[in-house]
Subunit: 353 residues, 2 copies
């Protein structure tokens, strides 16, 4: 039987409320599909841990996680006690970079039972993936301030793109597109404005396209691409983007389907040299923590992505079908207009699995 070791990191706020429901559904899927899941429960990478120790993670965090196949991650952040840049750069962003999770994968899908902010869109119309580069590009702390504190102040900020980093994310996206029915890939760019990195990014995409003649490729500038997420979301299949553009598009996509609170995300090290990390897109939501009304579907869907990544496609599909069924028929938490509690959703989805 397939067997996997999973690190469980609830983190902060509603992360602690949705993780148990995620595990409930994982257990149901494991039972049905005969998969052995061994959990390693971890209390650090949380602001509570920070309050006790002055840091987000112990020094040997890498060693503690190194044997795991994946990290199942709730949410980090408690701005009342720890500033976000400390909690996030001290945990989530460290995982992404030090475990070389260079693919950030986010599905965008319109479901029955989820109110859509776009007019005249039906379930099934929208079904695509945003593939975001997750380790380099525009997210850097390289640069500086000249004439600091004076009228002449000048701030320089560097972006850095490597061929290795760019080619591997493009390759991942081309292969994902190739595996799908429509085989369409949209490449986000801004080569008409950002004059060094983006024309080069375009040329890497053109080069990679030669190896995938069966994928229809389309480069679009980020301004018009963002507009088309609203105007023609049904036209997308796989969208690949740099770190910053992917960050924007992978919030905008779920916004267009009304699934910001339901959206999962996978931070992948496809070579499996390091553990990959699966997390809901929503954060720790201090405003609703403690009421047990958080919707656990993003956490549960993230678990499905984890099983898919671990080769358990049938288990992934079963969880996704169960999610669809509960979204359509209820129960529903307050964010979707019902009055179910967090555990009710987990129980219903586990039962459907």
């Amino acid at each position: 039987n397939p067997s996997f070791k999973i690190a469980i990191i609830p983190g902060d706020g509603i992360g602690k409320e949705v993780i148990p429901e995620g595990l409930r559904v994982l257990d149901a899927a494991a039972k049905r599909f005969d998969i052995r899941l061994e959990y390693k429960h971890i209390a650090w990478a949380s602001c509570d841990y920070y309050a006790q120790t002055g840091k987000m993670m112990p020094d040997d965090w890498k060693q503690q996680l190194q044997g795991c196949d994946a990290i199942y991650f709730g949410a980090v952040g408690w701005p009342a006690t720890v500033p976000d840049h400390v909690s996030l750069w001290g945990s989530l962003l460290k995982f992404r970079r030090e475990f070389d999770q260079y693919v950030n994968l986010r599905p965008v899908r319109l479901f029955e039972g989820v109110p859509c902010p776009l007019a005249n869109r039906k379930p099934g119309d929208i079904d695509f993936y945003v593939v975001r580069e997750n380790t380099e590009g525009e997210y850097t702390a390289i640069g500086g301030i000249m004439y600091e504190g004076t009228e002449r102040e000048l701030v320089l900020q560097q972006s850095a793109f490597s061929r290795r980093g760019t080619d591997r994310i493009l390759k991942y996206a081309f292969e994902l597109a190739q595996s799908r029915t429509r085989r369409r890939l949209t490449v986000a760019t801004k080569s008409n404005g950002i004059a060094i990195s983006m024309p080069w990014w375009d040329s890497r995409a053109d080069n990679m396209a030669k190896s995938y003649p069966d994928v229809a490729v389309d480069k679009q500038h980020i301004d018009i691409l963002a507009a088309r997420f609203v105007l023609q979301p049904d036209r997308f299949d796989v969208v690949v983007a740099s770190n910053l553009f992917g960050d924007i598009l992978s919030d905008l996509g779920p916004a267009c389907t009304g699934t910001m609170g339901l959206a999962p995300s996978a931070n992948l090290n496809p070579e499996r040299i390091f553990p990959s990390l699966f997390e809901p897109v929503h954060g720790s939501a201090p405003d609703i923590y403690g009421k047990n009304i958080a919707n656990p579907i993003a956490m549960i869907w993230s678990g499905a992505l984890m099983l898919d990544f671990l080769g358990q496609r049938a288990a992934h599909d079963a969880i996704l079908d169960a999610i669809k069924q509960v979204l359509a028929d209820g129960p529903r938490t307050p964010d979707l207009g019902g009055n179910a509690r967090t555990a009710d959703i987990g129980i219903a989805i586990a039962a459907a699995v």
Copy 2:
């Protein structure tokens, strides 16, 4: 009587079709409000001119325009003969930079008679401005490629923000917010990811806010901000953003109101040391050029913004009311489901003025 000298640059494609309608409406407003408009018609800054001369503009373009109060600009670009980066960097982007048009102002508004891609939004619900920095920031050609053409290739791209450039766009936005009823300003940022320039940008916004205690300020990361354009567009009043973020938001905003084809844009040098430039957001649209079906409303609305900038608020309001009336009652060009021709719209709006 107020008197202004306006340079008229039709440019390419439908730019040449919508300019006459823009002038028709400007003339009607000038007549009604007793404004003297002197036009200087210019055939360069077009791909036709490029075909004849090998450049987009004559060497003395600055001198030729220097006496003008404003530039009324159709659209540039004819990719079949001149690549976009040549035609745009050789004209539009040169104007923005060399005439120090550091404010790019774009209104976002939902009108009766314009189908809205968002569900359940009514005319009047959405009414805000995007204020975009237009001369620096992420749009640079500074940087380079190391180990070019090898596996180790590394691309560095610089962004550059000056205190002068940042403070003046923030000041413009704060003053615009202060002049409006709701007095709300949203500042686009990404200080949790782009670690040098964006925290500094935030600090400039905080500093500027001290001088405008009556403006409610709100900093939002670009990812969630883009999502909120779709989810809560009624909450925005004035949004200020860097060059890149403003580029994205000022396409996304009009996409959300279904007005991408109707949206105007003002490139302002508020001190009036140089002429400001007023242009539709849509491009030269080679696919529909020659059919006389282009909708001239973006061009006409741009003319209204021009009169407003020149101090003729009443004339601006009259044109905008006339636009609203024609959008609600017709005639309509094919993009809005009618079969009127370009001139029909100009004639109807001019009559309503």
